[in-house]
Symmetry: none
Subunit: 226 residues, 2 copies
DNA sequence: ACAAAACTGTCATTTAAGTGTCATAGTCGA
DNA sequence: TCGACTATGACACTTAAATGACAGTTTTGT
């Protein structure tokens, strides 16, 4: 499962360079030069990270950043800002607007790639192959295995994706709608009640009968893990 | 609940500067000059983030970083590396070793603080100032949890919304009419007396029996919190 | 390619939790 | 003290979630 990346850059040469490098790293890359289009694409695909040039057509990068943060679908997507300016004031403004990192031109693709890896490691550890842990539950995304207090737990594909989704956001309450789009995909026309059923199956799988339930039901809001 | 920070820095002047700044920002700071000690402190306190100088006594910063990542207690704690060298090669090595971010000396405290905020926003949303607090009452809208002096309080959906409404406007007197439209919605045709009942239920939930009542009744005006 | 096994989504039903209203008792302030 | 306002307990009613069954799909092993 490759990480999806949205690159918003209007210099064609630089854009091509970035696309080339990130595709070579195994990312699934989408690119646009236009700010408005970037917002649409981001809302539609919810990429795993966004690279955003400060100065782009139509809207300023910082405005795009602000709007990405405001939209609920994209409010948690990490953003790396790209800029020609090196002034500290701008760097701080970028970070305060909600960018996660900031790279100053000229930069080497290797550095940008390293920063991207660092950011993804933090926001989507599973994509970086890191084992996710919540209390005595462990999920190894590479081996595709789950253990509860050391004991292996067999899960079906949907259960696994659902659990991974929860474990990437421990403690957070996720609504049925969020779970449907996050686990089944944006375009899925799944009944929301189906989430209940999968949660029940996941519970049955990961909880020892009579033991502590790691999934919390939050009435009229959704579910959360841990 | 302030975020706990471990600063590993052996230049006394710089260390003092950092401690001062981060404490002023409200962080709970521990500092050490020694790499081995840093590992012990980290394992013992599991801070919410670590600032780590590249060149420190005993072990190199990069080795400390590697070991922090290997230990299960600290493998998920975000690390910001601090370095005098500006060479790209080192920056990349730092990031690849598992640092989450990288700041080159000389840097301004403001920038470091902004980066720290960006990192915490992602790893610990609750610590990035998103939780609402009034006296010893805390409400975390993301996790959908409420605690009174550290002790979790179970609330029903309406009670939760009502409390959130109060906590977003601490100290302010809200009329029953305002509460109805704010909590139940503009188009709701709820009896105003119903507010009394929900306030009673909320009180019963958040106040220890016999303890201090955080909700004040303002006769012929409404209610206020705190 | 085929059959068995595993997995999914949906629905009807059961169970649980939460909510609004009202009648009544209690409280506060002029 | 009186009258207006608020607190409280009971209760019927809604709403939400858990569950069990089942038919249709997909996957797997042979």
């Amino acid at each position: 499962m490759a990480a999806r990346l949205l690159i918003v850059e209007d210099d064609p040469a630089l854009a091509e360079l970035l696309v080339w490098h990130f595709e070579a790293e195994g990312y699934d890359v989408t690119q646009t030069a236009d700010g408005e289009e970037a917002l649409l694409l981001a809302a539609e695909q919810t990429p795993d990270a966004i690279i955003l040039d400060w100065m782009i057509e139509n809207i300023s990068g910082i405005e795009v950043c602000r709007r990405l943060r405001r939209a609920s679908e994209t409010s948690n997507v990490p953003i790396i800002m790209l800029t020609a300016r090196g002034e500290e004031e701008d760097r701080i403004r970028g970070l305060e607007t909600g960018a996660d990192d900031y790279v100053t031109k000229p930069f080497s693709p290797r550095e940008l790639i390293a920063r991207m890896a660092a950011i993804l490691r933090r926001s989507r550890p599973a994509l970086a192959g890191k084992t996710l842990k919540v209390e005595d539950l462990e999920l190894d995304p590479i081996a595709h295995r789950v253990r509860r207090s050391g004991q292996e737990v067999p899960l079906g594909p949907t259960e696994f994706r659902l659990l991974q989704h929860f474990m990437e956001r421990p403690g957070r309450v996720l609504s049925r709608g969020q779970l449907v789009t996050g686990v089944w995909g944006h375009d899925s026309d799944i009944e929301e009640r189906t989430v209940d059923v999968q949660v029940k199956r996941l519970r049955a799988a990961i909880n020892a009968p009579g033991g502590k339930d790691l999934i919390r039901t939050v009435r009229s809001a959704g579910y959360s893990l841990g």
